[in-house]
């Protein structure tokens, strides 16, 4: 039984003649963590800003808990938001920043102080130690945690995170990402997370909406998005993908010719006709050097490039005009393959994604 909490219905946004979001639809369940993933300019931040109330949709409506909030002002929506640039008030201390929304809501001083202490405890910046510090006295990661506490303090119905980790260094990004997810689970707050980083989206989301050209190309769980991409764009954008050009030699038996070699892809060529050119996509982890049990398709090629990366060896194999990249584990008792060697790569035909 679905429990839709936020419903974005047929939303379109145009700036003059330019449409940046077009017919966007998404239902998000209560307590769900949904990421908007896409390249710059795909409209993900615009959708988030429309949910926040900073942009008015040209068409469509946004419903939260059954209430149409499309025309409400941002300060009437009871939504929390964390910005990429932290946006802490420089003239206020950490405690004052976190208590800002509570003060505006008219909460009694004692209750507000208690809530501020709770929030600072939640983000592991205790009030006694950090409450009196100013934003400039904190690191980027600490500032963003304070921004998260400030957004959560007034108990918003919805939490919006606009690329909150982009300005942080790699190590802090990973730890804060896990912390955000943990806090979100603990509070059970419905959350939208905007990012262009696929690893971030895949690692913390319940569902991901992959956006391109103002539309949701695919909405699904990280597993579905990665393993069953619905479009060529999703397949290319999420994860590394090897693409081989092939020609359907016999559609009835599922035979496909790749660089004068034939492989069988029965059941994967839905709708393709004999003679049609198709793209075959394979994730690097689906390919091995040499045969392997369960791999029913193989192609021969020449090793072009070998990169020793420690525990992993990245091998690029030329098959016809295409390059196939695959990773193998380093085996100290067996030397890595050499560039120029002839080799065979194998894979399970079931793992091939046919892109039309």
């Amino acid at each position: 039984m679905s429990d839709t909490f936020l419903s974005i219905q047929n939303v379109r946004k145009s700036f003059g003649a330019v449409t940046v979001v077009d017919d966007f639809n998404l239902d998000i369940e209560r307590g769900e963590f949904v990421s908007f993933l896409g390249p710059s300019g795909c409209g993900k931040t615009t959708v988030l800003r429309m949910v926040a109330g900073f942009e008015d949709p040209t068409e469509g409506k946004i419903v939260v808990a059954g209430k149409d909030i499309t025309r409400l002002k941002p300060n009437q929506r009871n939504v929390g938001m964390v910005f990429q640039a932290y946006a802490l008030f420089p003239n206020l201390t950490v405690a004052q920043n976190v208590g800002f929304g509570l003060k505006i809501a008219g909460m009694a001083r004692a209750d507000a102080d208690k809530r501020v202490a709770e929030m600072l405890e939640l983000i592991k910046l205790p009030l006694a130690q950090f409450g009196d510090r100013y934003p400039y006295q904190l690191s980027g990661g600490q500032q963003q945690r304070v921004a998260l506490a400030r957004a959560l303090a007034p108990k918003p119905k919805l939490l919006l995170l606009d690329e909150p980790l982009s300005a942080l260094d790699a190590k802090v990004r990973v730890s804060l990402r896990d912390e955000i997810r943990m806090i979100q689970r603990e509070l059970g707050i419905t959350t939208i997370f905007v990012t262009h980083d696929q690893e971030e989206a895949l690692s913390i989301s319940d569902r991901i909406a992959v956006m391109y050209g103002g539309k949701a190309e695919q909405v699904g769980t990280p597993f579905e998005i990665y393993n069953r991409p619905a479009t060529k764009f999703v397949a290319n954008f999420v994860g590394t993908l090897n693409v081989l050009e092939g020609t359907v030699s016999d559609a009835a038996t599922g035979k496909v010719r790749v660089d004068a070699q034939e492989i069988g892809l029965k059941g994967k060529l839905n709708g393709s006709k004999s003679g049609e050119t198709i793209s075959l996509a394979l994730r690097p982890e689906a390919i091995t050097l040499g045969p392997r049990p369960g791999h029913d398709a193989s192609l021969t090629g020449e090793i072009h490039d070998v990169q020793f990366l420690g525990s992993v060896i990245r091998v690029r194999v030329g098959v016809g005009g295409s390059r196939v990249s695959l990773d193998t584990f380093n085996n100290p008792s067996s030397p890595p393959p050499q560039a120029g060697e002839k080799t065979t790569i194998s894979f399970a035909s079931n793992d091939v994604l046919v892109l039309h």
Binding site: A52, G53, F54, K73, P74, N75, R77, N78, V79, G80, M81, F83, Q84, A85, Y86, A87, L88, F89, P90, N91, F100, G101, I104, A105, Y134, P135, Y136, L138, G140, Q143, A147, R150, A151, P154, S166, A167
Partner: protein
């Protein structure tokens, strides 16, 4: 390299001499009132003159009202231009520069013509009205300095994101301007305020043509009729102006550190 440093010092010394020799000469002259000895007699006469106290007091009050008016006009305007109408910035900057190109005498004659006792807005028909008109005129003269000071202050903070952060937390426009924007540009506003104070204190044309008992006309009047007192007055005015500038410098050290941008 050493030659370069030598010429740099020469230029610096010449520049310093250009500014300081007349100043030192004025100080020296202002202290020669008593025959055969240096004294502060001229200063004592000036500071003890009831007209000095009255005109100085009048100008200080006028400066305070000018600053309030300037802040009320400039802060919301500069904020709104940065937030919502950035494309209008060149136009607004041009308008704020006009008082530097249009002489005060032109502005004041315009006022006299527009706001005379027979006009629909007869500011000049009463003392209060004329005082108000003088303050409005001063606010116009100080506009280039006040606008630039506030605009520079706004440039150091991320106005748009801070506004949105406050909005999403439930704040209305008054709270945003009063509790988020103004405190973060307060030092810039104070800089503009002290510049305004210095301008108002020395302004002559408007006050004279509107026949107001301000400090500028008093300075001119003393200068035309006395020998040592004008020099003492010039030094007093100079010290007040420099005092204002020093206060700006001191206050700027207390500006909130802007850290709302990612490093």
């Amino acid at each position: 390299m050493k030659t370069g440093r030598f010429w740099a010092w020469v230029t610096f010394i010449l520049g310093a001499a250009y500014f300081f020799i007349p100043l030192i000469a004025t100080v020296e002259f202002s202290m020669r009132m008593r025959r055969g000895a240096y004294s502060f007699d001229a200063y004592a006469i000036v500071l003890g003159d009831p007209r000095f106290q009255a005109t100085f007091g009048y100008s200080v009050v006028a400066a305070v009202f000018t600053i309030i008016l300037g802040v009320l006009i400039v802060v919301p305007t500069a904020y709104w231009i940065r937030l919502r109408l950035p494309h209008l910035r060149p136009i607004v900057e041009f308008i704020t520069l006009l008082p530097l190109v249009i002489p005060a005498i032109v502005i004041v004659f315009g006022y006299i013509r527009m706001y005379g006792s027979n006009s629909p807005l007869p500011f000049l028909a009463s003392n209060t009205g004329t005082n108000a008109l003088l303050v409005i005129g001063y606010a116009t003269l100080a506009l280039p300095y006040m606008y630039r000071a506030v605009d520079t202050g706004l440039r150091t903070i991320d106005v748009k994101t801070l506004t949105e952060a406050a909005q999403i937390l439930g704040a209305g426009w008054t709270t945003i301007i009063g509790k988020v924007i103004l405190p973060n540009v307060l030092i810039a506003v104070l800089s503009g305020a002290f510049l305004t104070f210095a301008i108002v204190l020395g302004e002559f044309t408007m006050a004279s043509l509107l026949n107001r008992p301000a400090f500028g006309p008093y300075l001119q009047n003393i200068g035309a009729n006395r020998a040592y007192e004008p020099a003492a007055l010039a030094i007093i005015a100079f010290v007040i102006t420099w005092g204002c500038m020093s206060v700006i410098q001191v206050l700027s050290r207390f500006a909130p550190k802007s850290s709302n941008r990612p490093n």
